[in-house]
Structures are given as C-alpha cells and as structure tokens.
Symmetry: C2
Subunit: 161 residues, 2 copies
C-alpha cells in the first residue's frame, strides 16, 4: 500500500477478473450458503432465477481475493528516506453491499475499486480510513456487485491531535 498521505481520492484500481464455474459456485455454497439455487443445478431451474447462481458471499469474497492479489502485485518502492511503505491494515467493516444481478456459471466478473473518501481517526492517530467504491461487472456490462469498502492505512507521520 502507499502511505495514507499518498492515497488520492478518485484513484482507481482495476483488480482483474474471475470466471465462476458451476463446480466452484456449488463448492463454496455447500460450505457457506447451501440454498438450493446455489447448490443444485436441477432444482435451481424452478427457483427464483431459473438456474444456478453464485452466493453473493462468494462473489464478495472473490473481490477480496483479487484486491489482495492486486496490492501484492503493486508493492511500493521504499521512500526517499528508506522507509518501506506499509502493508494494508484491517477493515472496520463495509457499507451497502448490493447484489443487483445474479452471477451464473460461466460469467466473468471484472472488479474495480475507486477511492472516494479519506477519514482521520480520533482514536488512532497513526492510521487513517480509506473508503472505496467497489464494483463487479459481468461480460455484458451489468453490475453484479457494488459496495463501499473501508480499510485502515498507516500514515507516514502520526496525525497531530
């Protein structure tokens, strides 16, 4: 990660894409979300979407996976003073998760993340919160996932209280 001070509102990361197979959809859902329209191709045909669809929790966790892979691809160089920029910090949670269109077997979802807010923290002067709008779009250009993510990022210099 860059230091908190170096993150720009409006900056955007392309996180890459993932193609969801029926096998993977069923395997995730069997473990965490075993509703018939996520685990049973035959029964799902009579279900709310007329076929198998991925658990929204699976679509969302895949965003996380690609975000971490992208961050690791983009290791920052040391600062002029030789300090190594931080790895990402924890998240206090996120806002407004939407799954407006189902993800079906064979769909390829492309994920991206845009910084929308930077927040100073009262309790942790050495960190800030970065908010981002994250979306996943399928091969037809339909948004299948959107949410506002939050992550703590270390500051180069602690904020003066």
């Amino acid at each position: 990660m860059p230091w908190f001070e170096d993150i720009k509102i409006g900056s955007r990361l392309e996180l890459g894409s993932h193609t969801f197979t029926a096998e993977e959809i069923i395997a995730y859902a069997r473990k965490y979300d075993p509703q018939y329209f996520h685990v049973d191709e035959e029964a799902a045909k009579a279900g709310p979407f007329g076929g198998l669809t991925a658990s929204g929790w699976h679509t969302s966790a895949t965003w996380m996976k690609l975000m971490i892979a992208t961050r690791q691809d983009a290791k920052e160089p040391p600062d002029a003073d030789g300090r190594v920029p931080p790895s990402g910090g924890p998240s206090p949670g996120f806002l407004d998760m939407k799954w407006p269109v189902p993800v079906r077997p064979g769909d390829t979802i492309s994920y991206s993340s845009e910084v929308i807010e930077k927040i100073d923290m009262k309790t942790r002067p050495e960190w800030g919160i970065v908010r981002s709008r994250n979306i996943g779009v399928n091969q037809r250009g339909e948004t299948v996932l959107s949410f506002i993510g939050q992550g703590l990022v270390q500051r180069r210099q602690a904020r003066q209280k």
Copy 2:
C-alpha cells in the same frame, strides 16, 4: 421459512455458535483474504492485533451458514389449506457490516438475527423483503459482527398493486 405475512417484526432467531480454530481461519484466508494477520501466526504477532485473527468475510460467511442450518431445522408445517410454506428467497444485499472486535483462534461466536423491518416491493408483488439485525457475540460478550441483512420472502397471497 414462514410466509411473508406471518413474519413478525421483533421476532428473534438464535442461530447457534461456532468456534474458530487457527487451521480454519488460515484455510479460509489463504483462499479469499491472504493478509499476513489472517494466514501467518508468527508474522501476525507484530501486526495490528498482536496475533492471528479471522477474516471478516469468514466471520460473515459463518453467519450465513448457521442461518441456513437454522432455517432447515425449522421447516414450517403445511398451511390449513395444505400449501407448503416457502423456502427462503434470494437477497438483494445487505447494509452496514461492522467488524468491531477481532475474532481469534479458540473464540466461540454466537449468532442471532432479529426481524426489524418488512418492506413491500413495487416490482415483485408476490414477494416482500424482510430486514433483520444480525449480530455475532464472542464468549466474553463482545460484539464481533453486526449488520442489517435483507432477504426476499414469498407472500401467501400476491399484494394488490
């Protein structure tokens, strides 16, 4: 599930509990959230929580797993008219996911769900949206997860437009 008409605001489900092991925390995070404080017990000691913690996505997916198991435990009997109450429908997403306290190896999280709102849908007169406040509490009584969930539930009778 009960029919939409039969769901009462204020009704509460205990979803049971789950004990998170280090092995399981690491296995989930390796696949979906491989940050060092979720996958490496040694490195995590120098991290933001001083030790290994579960990915919030893992804590959240475990809520889903227990919710489905609870619903299947509580199959409704047929109505007086012989109709079988519906299985749960899909979710349009959820609101305000908070992970205020980390989940560590050995923690036992107890989950519950309380109905807080019922929403008529303009576009789908045969369904309604049920909103619930969901929480996960550890063995010390600390809330480790809270969010507002949403799910579509079938109506016994379609709403008149």
